[in-house]
């Protein structure tokens, strides 16, 4: 197996007084697409936020490229080379597409350098460049949210529920886009849509009630209907 770019070891995270993660372990091999699966409220989004330091864990270890993320503020964690595409996209509605991309630059000229790659994956964004983010459709906003994470040289992308609320035809395009961008960055994906997850991911981790309960190669999970039924409620 290839070297892991990210290792999450037994993290416990609280939001207020609620103990949300009660021991989550995730290993993300470099160059892979790894998906976090689980029912609503299982702790998938909190796991991504814990990695980024938005809800820092109280216990456990998170290592990115061999470096501990403990005690680091979210902006310093992001600067290490981690891009975040949150649930509900978090597009800046009053900023244009161009400004939404430009704000993600970590060095002057980042956008210019990456523009060809971004517009090759999401050609629509070039046409919408001067339009406010709030004017875009749900699918276009999702593309913009992912494109924003591609502006700096991020080696790991945390993508939360990209297919949420999108039409099947848009999801198809999005899957192609994620597959293409994974050639340059490792992807840790949270996805409820099992069909999409199974087509995209190389590896999976199932989180149930704040605990990681299964992990392995996606190809093995696809045939394991008992596990799918038990933890995901889908066949």
């Amino acid at each position: 197996m290839s070297e892991n770019i990210l290792e999450v070891q037994g993290i416990h995270t609280f939001i207020g007084q609620f103990h949300i993660l009660e021991g989550v372990t995730v290993a993300v091999p470099k160059g892979s697409i790894t998906v976090l699966l689980g029912r609503n409220g299982a702790g998938k989004t909190t796991t991504l936020k814990s990695i980024l330091g938005l809800t820092p864990p109280k216990e456990g270890k998170i290592m990115f490229e061999g470096q501990s993320l403990a005690g680091k503020r979210p902006y310093t964690i992001a600067q290490l080379g981690i891009g975040f595409v949150p649930e509900h996209r978090a597009i800046f509605r009053d900023l244009t597409v161009e400004e939404n991309l430009k704000i993600a630059e970590r060095k002057p000229g980042d956008l210019k350098k990456r523009a060809d790659f971004i517009f090759e994956i999401f050609p629509d964004l070039q046409r919408l460049y001067k339009l406010a983010g709030g004017k875009l459709s749900g699918g276009q906003q999702q593309m913009l949210a992912i494109a924003r994470a591609l502006v700096p040289d991020n080696r790991l992308l945390l993508i939360d529920e990209p297919s949420e609320g999108l039409a099947p035809v848009i999801i198809e395009g999005l899957m192609n886009a994620i597959r293409r961008l994974s050639a340059q960055s490792t992807v840790l994906l949270v996805e409820q849509n099992f069909r999409m997850a199974s087509h995209l991911a190389d590896r999976y981790v199932i989180i149930d009630d704040g605990v990681s309960v299964r992990s392995g190669n996606m190809a093995d999970l696809v045939g394991d209907t008992e596990t799918i039924q038990r933890y995901l409620g889908a066949a």
Binding site: Y75, L95, R106
Partner: protein, 334 residues
């Protein structure tokens, strides 16, 4: 924060034009002559610009940090006292005999002091309370009281009137037979320059993009690798410096008194809410509207009713009237 008057805000712009047209028509009819009307208009603009200098920081800081800084009026008051003191101190009069230069020095020192006190408040008192908005509110309220008490301790309870003029403050011009100070026109011009400079900063620079994005979702800005706390400190400091600058440029005609803190804070809060919370452009327009309303009502009540209390009540009456029709303010989001 909204972009400069987007298409969906055209309705709000029409409402602003209608309110202003109504206000000015009322003023023109009740003053009865072009001279009084022009002076009322200029006084309203002057008042509006001073309110803007307090309200701009209040608006941006609230939009970005969700902090309603009750101490903002205190910075205006401190600017006025420091400006007064530096211009009238015998030692400084001897060191800088030229009144214009001494006033310029007072402006610089008061603005820098405002910025310094802003950093202290944000860095040491507000930052530890970011997750507790109510505590922040109480803290800024407490700081505003401390500012007033410190000023009383240093300068006493009696207001200070500007008694040593400087060349720039002495010039007057005549408009339809009425006199108006050149210096006051200069203050109006400074207000307009600041409105457009801050708007350009917000619209055309990277830090402006970050501030506008932060107003919408500061957590996402941080997740992009931007040190949002540093941006908070910078914006808070700038807001306090601008309020302090307002106080020092107003001191030659308003003097220095502890009442300035509350008076300008209330007017500024009215402007921020009227313009729409978090909307910089809305705040600028609303500050001018509030200033004009105060001037028109002051002129009318003095001339006909001999009841000057309506001048200070008028911003709140205007605010209540607009909020009844549009609860999110003129340029705010539903």
């Amino acid at each position: 924060m909204t972009g400069i008057f987007a298409r969906e805000q055209r309705g709000s712009l029409v409402a602003v034009v209608m309110i202003l047209a109504g206000l000015l028509t009322f003023s023109f009819i009740t003053t009865g002559n072009a001279g009084d009307f022009s002076i009322t208009l200029l006084s309203g603009l002057l008042r509006g610009m001073l309110l803007f200098l307090v309200a701009s920081g209040l608006s941006i800081v609230f939009g970005l940090m969700d902090v309603l800084n009750f101490a903002q009026g205190g910075y205006f008051m401190i600017g006025a006292y420091v400006g007064y003191e530096l211009h009238h101190a015998p030692g400084l009069i001897a060191a800088i005999p030229d009144g214009n230069l001494r006033f310029l020095f007072a402006v610089l020192v008061a603005t820098v002091l405002g910025a310094f006190l802003g950093v202290i408040l944000e860095r040491f008192l507000l930052r530890p309370l970011y997750s507790r908005p109510i505590f922040q509110l109480v803290t800024t309220f407490g700081v505003s009281i401390i500012f007033v008490e410190v000023v009383r301790y240093i300068w006493g309870v009696s207001p200070r009137s500007w008694s040593i003029d400087f060349g720039f403050n002495e010039g007057v011009f005549r408009l339809f037979g009425q006199q108006f100070s050149v210096y006051r026109i200069f203050v109006i011009a400074v207000g307009f320059v600041l409105i457009f400079t801050i708007a350009l900063l917000l619209q055309r620079t990277r830090i402006g993009i970050i501030i506008r994005a932060g107003v919408q979702d500061s957590q996402m800005v941080e997740a992009l690798g931007i040190n949002v706390r540093l941006v908070f400190t910078g914006v808070f400091t700038l807001g306090c410096a601008v309020a302090s600058l307002g106080g020092v440029v107003a001191a030659p005609f308003l003097g220095a008194s502890t009442g300035l803190a509350t008076e300008f804070l209330l007017g500024a809060i009215a402007a921020v809410v009227l313009g729409g919370l978090g909307s910089y452009e809305g705040t600028a327009v609303a500050a001018i509207m509030v200033g004009l309303t105060q001037a028109v009502i002051a002129k009318f009540t003095t001339q006909y009713l001999n009841q000057p209390v309506w001048e200070s009540l008028s911003p709140m009456v205007l605010l209540a009237a607009v909020l009844l029709l549009r609860p999110s303010g003129l340029f705010g989001r539903e």
